[in-house]
């Protein structure tokens, strides 16, 4: 993420934000409730962090308090023993591939659905809605068969294609609604100048839809990063396993050392947490206001 594009996004967000209702003097009840809810949301993660730097005995005594000693070495041990570095690199490949391909696939489709007014538009949207509400566990066996036939089993590209298939319906719906909020004048001008649809899409629509694209990329990346059932099924080679699977195996293999498992968990959530804190505006505003905000 370059500085310029981040700045652009922030500006875009600011421009698009509506004036919030004037803050009034909230009662003490409201303030206390909001604070308690914040504690509820964040407290467990803080406890989890504390547990990750405890000794096994310290943890066995209580999983709730502050650590007696701070065992920072747990992180290094977890990193090495859980082979987490490799897991994170594999995740980076799968996540980046999934996000990029989803953007292309969903970007094109969303453009067609939002702007080209194609035949059967509405029916297709409903199809997409239903196709993202199916019990995906049932897909494992047929998908496995197809992946083997296509020699895509045990390859990262195979897992990426499956993720794109699973996540693109939602991404398309989200992007489409974002595109509907964009002004049409630029596209019309480009068409007047004789640009074809592909040209309009890549030179005008996509650059303008950058904030929406980024939101979709983040949402998709998060889903791909956290996904587990398909990852463990479609990747066999332990050198290719993504972080979610690595963590799951690690958890099973190190039951005797809970703080170490916890440290691995902390390492696993760290990349997404950092990404989120950096881009929280885009993450939240984009997701909420582009579609559901009404």
């Amino acid at each position: 993420m370059s500085i310029t594009s981040t700045a652009l996004l922030t500006r875009a967000t600011r421009l698009r934000r509506r004036t919030p209702p004037k803050g009034t003097d909230a009662g003490i009840f409201t303030c206390v409730s909001l604070t308690l809810l914040a504690l509820f949301a964040i407290g467990p993660i803080i406890l989890f962090f504390f547990n990750s730097v405890k000794t096994s005995n310290d943890y066995a005594a209580s999983s709730l308090g502050l650590p007696k000693t701070w065992e920072w070495g747990n992180f290094l041990d977890a990193w090495i023993q859980g082979n987490i570095g490799a897991g994170l690199i594999n995740s980076a490949v799968v996540v980046a591939g999934t996000a990029a391909l989803t953007l292309v696939v969903s970007g094109c489709a969303a453009y067609a659905l939002a702007r080209l007014d194609i035949k059967g538009n509405r029916l297709f949207i409903n199809y997409l809605l239903i196709s993202s509400s199916l019990p995906t566990q049932m897909f494992l066996v047929p998908l496995f068969y197809m992946a083997v036939q296509a020699r895509l089993y045990d390859t990262q590209i195979g897992l990426i294609l499956i993720y794109v298939g699973l996540f693109s319906p939602f991404a398309t719906l989200l992007l489409r609604s974002f595109m509907l909020t964009m002004p049409k004048e630029l596209e019309e001008a480009a068409r007047m100048d004789g640009a074809n649809e592909l040209g309009v899409l890549f030179r005008v629509v996509l650059p303008n839809a950058l904030p929406g694209l980024l939101t979709v990329a983040l949402v998709t990346a998060l889903s791909a990063y956290n996904e587990f059932l398909f990852a463990v099924t479609f990747i066999q080679n332990s050198d290719l396993l993504p972080a979610s699977t690595t963590f799951y195996s690690f958890q099973q293999g190190f039951t005797q050392n809970y703080p170490l498992v916890t440290a691995a968990g902390v390492i696993m959530i760290a990349p997404m947490l950092i990404l989120f804190l950096f881009l929280q505006r885009r993450f939240i505003s984009g997701l909420a206001s582009s579609g559901l905000g009404g």
């Binding site: 909001l34 989890f48 696939v105 297709f124 019990p135």
Partner: protein, 308 residues
């Protein structure tokens, strides 16, 4: 509940689309067809990852397929068996409890927090970020977090002398509670965005009428976000029936079947009991429930003429 199927999104305001159609009348005929070319990649990948596996699921639901080897057509036997299977009924009831829980608890927390956030002057962004953070943590890690907190020997379980996940009476509630922890923050964000689009004038008018915060919430806020509210309510129903991750990771449907839901039953029948045909029938029933919820939503939307 997972992230990727979270939002259904707006269609264009009708008048804008008409305008569009008029100004480019000449090109429409062409583009209405060529537009499908842009959708080709999505259609192809959807065909292979979603549509074909779905068709196979439907097909196998009429067979006695074990998950390996050949299959025999057995008509609708799997479906008739479903409705006499106590495990199916047990799981279905849990899905209904689950749905009720998610329609009430996170909805209330989300609405309350979002409304409260519209009424404070400072720290709104910080609160919103904090509430949303659990939503980005992977379910495997969330499960580990709460397992340690609820631990009956080292965590709150030992303080309260309660075995949250081990007691069949509390297990389902505990799993739902953990899933909700990672879920309600998302609702806050969505509701907050919807609430901010309500015109401040409406609040001022209500305020002049002497309405307090509570009255304003029911007379202004709730009607103002109704489409979002109803939409999320219906999606909650769909996701509640699909719910798998947390039950699978935390309890695998136990103890004594007390947390079994349709998706974990389906998974177990397909991969432990080697009754893939029967599991497929469960999958089809789940898909039908989703489809009914979607259609209900679409009908409501059409009848009420909502733009969302």
């Amino acid at each position: 509940m997972t992230f990727h199927s979270d939002v259904y999104v707006a269609t264009a305001p009708r008048d804008m689309r008409l305008m569009h159609r008029k100004s480019f009348a000449a090109r429409i005929r062409d583009r209405r067809v060529s537009g499908w070319l842009f959708m080709l990649p999505l259609i192809l990948i959807n065909l292979f990852v979603v549509a074909i596996p779905s068709i196979f699921t439907l097909f196998f639901s009429f067979t006695d397929w074990s998950g390996v080897g050949d299959a025999n057509f057995i008509g609708i036997d799997n479906y008739t068996k479903l409705f006499t299977d106590p495990e199916f009924t047990n799981a279905l009831v849990h899905n209904i409890y689950w749905t009720v829980f998610f329609l009430i608890v996170p909805m209330t927390m989300g609405l309350f927090s979002a409304y409260a956030l519209t009424r404070i002057r400072r720290f709104r962004v910080i609160f919103r970020v904090l509430y949303f953070i659990p939503h980005i943590v992977a379910s495997v890690v969330n499960a580990a977090i709460w397992r340690s907190i609820m631990d009956p020997t080292a965590g709150f379980g030992s303080l309260l002398h309660l075995n949250f996940l081990g007691n069949p009476d509390t297990a389902l509630g505990s799993v739902a509670f953990i899933n909700n922890w990672a879920w309600w923050g998302f609702l806050v964000v969505v509701f907050l965005a919807a609430m901010r689009s309500i015109s401040p004038a409406l609040y001022e008018a209500a305020s002049l009428d002497g309405a307090g915060p509570a009255r304003q919430f029911f007379s202004v806020t709730l009607p103002g976000i109704r489409p979002t509210f109803v939409f999320l309510g219906l999606m909650t129903i769909i996701w509640s029936f699909l719910s798998f991750d947390y039950v699978y990771i935390l309890t695998q449907g136990g103890p004594a079947g007390s947390t079994d839901v349709l998706s974990t039953l389906l998974y177990r029948n397909a991969f432990t009991n080697q009754e893939s045909g029967y599991a497929s029938a469960t999958g089809v029933v789940l898909a039908l429930i989703s489809a009914i919820a979607v259609v209900t939503y679409l009908v409501i939307r059409r009848v009420k003429k909502w733009e969302i």
